[in-house]
Amino acid sequence: MIGWKDIPPGMVILEAGSALKVKTGSWRAAYRPKWIEENCIHCLLCWLYCPDNSVKVKNGKREEFDYDYCKGCGICALECPGKKGKKAIVMEEEVK
């Protein structure tokens, strides 16, 4: 536990992006998103729209979800255009 004496004066936080230590994936309740690679056109809209940076992208190509932080909101699934009317993201029951 960090006490008040450990915090720099003025409530300054010296470590940028330290929130990454908080794994908000534990918030997911009923659903988690599933990526169906063969339907993916790599438009990266899911990457852009995800409020929790939980879509990994490498060299302009979409990769797996980051379930450590995904809160299961479902925005990515709703906005995914998919291929030929088939979604590349579906929400499925959460497994804990």
Binding site: I2, T24, W27, R28, Y49, P51, D52, N53, Y69, K71
Partner: protein, 319 residues
């Protein structure tokens, strides 16, 4: 060279707002922040926020989601705080102690901008500080439990204007902060929505390249306060634009330009029915109220079209 506004290139940039923040699942505020920071990816930026959901949830104890220098002071004074930071920067630059080209951006809620931080915002803009002020407008004081603000839409249900037998949700009209900021005579004022992200990012880009005070108002759905689904932030943003509830336009040196004109203007009822805060409008006998809202929107849209026509630079050949 500026990073092109396409997702392939932007995805190679660092997202300077990390996961691990404690905003609700499906909150649009972090999406808006991400878009603003990505648009500004070619510059070091300093950000200030007023008290509110974004501030409270992005910075808890020793955890911060910000990867840029970020400052929070109080609810009512983000613009004044950032004015001070920007003035210090100018002084240091003059003395040759700093040579980087840094952009200053305030990202604050509607309560912190339309209402309680209004004089701080107005003052900073009038003094001409070189900063971009972004309001993420979710239409209420969400962080403290969905109290009405100057930005709350007419007839929306909030905890301080509860829809019932006495009042039909918020009885008053929304304050049009974007127009109020345009009336300050700023070099750049705009309204944007995350559903139309290239438009949003272009506006942020344009704004940060202009020196002086700039203001952008961004539509930011809040599923908790709007009593809607956690997956509909982008869908509702799109509906807000397509119904002309939230027109996308910019005012540059007094010239108004509508940047996205919906091909088919959709009826406001489509926007309303997806949100629990307007649920009471669908009870029998309330049809008139939806008509009333439609009239308000039509009137405002017509006015904006006229404003665009009136201020558009005349074709020189016709003079």
């Amino acid at each position: 060279m500026a990073t092109p506004i396409n997702l392939k290139e932007l995805s190679k940039q660092e997202v300077r707002f990390t996961a691990g923040h404690r905003l609700c699942a499906g909150c649009a505020a972090p999406i808006v922040v991400k878009m603003v920071l990505l648009a500004a990816c070619d510059y070091p930026v300093v950000v200030a926020s007023s008290t509110g959901c974004l501030e409270v949830s992005s910075c808890i104890s020793t955890y911060t989601a910000w990867k840029v220098p970020w400052i929070h002071n109080a609810f009512e004074n983000a613009a004044a705080t950032l004015s001070g930071v920007e003035s210090m920067y100018r002084a240091l630059k003059k003395r040759g102690k700093i040579d980087k080209d840094i952009k200053f951006i305030a990202i604050c809620g509607d309560g912190g901008s339309y209402d309680i931080g209004f004089q701080s915002l107005s003052g900073a803009m009038e003094r001409g500080h070189d900063m971009l002020y972004v309001c993420y407008d979710n239409g209420a004081y969400m962080n403290t439990g969905i109290q009405r603000s100057g930005a709350t839409p007419t007839f929306a249900d909030t905890t301080t204007c509860p829809a019932g037998v006495v009042i039909p949700g918020k009885p008053q009209q929304r304050k049009d902060l974007t127009r109020i900021m345009a009336a300050h005579g700023l070099p750049y004022v705009a309204q944007a929505s995350p559903s139309h992200w290239p438009d949003l990012m272009k506006k942020v880009r344009k704004a940060i390249e202009i020196s002086g005070p700039k203001f952008i108002n961004i539509f930011t759905p809040c599923n908790r306060g709007w009593r809607s689904r956690t997956d509909d932030a982008i869908m509702l943003s799109r509906l807000a634009v397509e119904t002309c509830f939230w027109p996308l336009y910019e005012v540059e040196e007094g010239i108004t330009r509508i940047t996205v004109k919906p091909r088919d203007k959709r009826p406001i009822v489509e926007f309303l029915k997806a949100q629990g805060r307007f649920k009471h409008l669908f009870e029998p006998g309330k049809e008139k109220m939806i008509e009333q809202l439609q009239e308000m929107i039509d009137k405002n849209w017509e006015r904006l079209l006229k404003e665009e026509e009136m201020t558009s630079p005349k074709d020189e050949g016709n003079e």
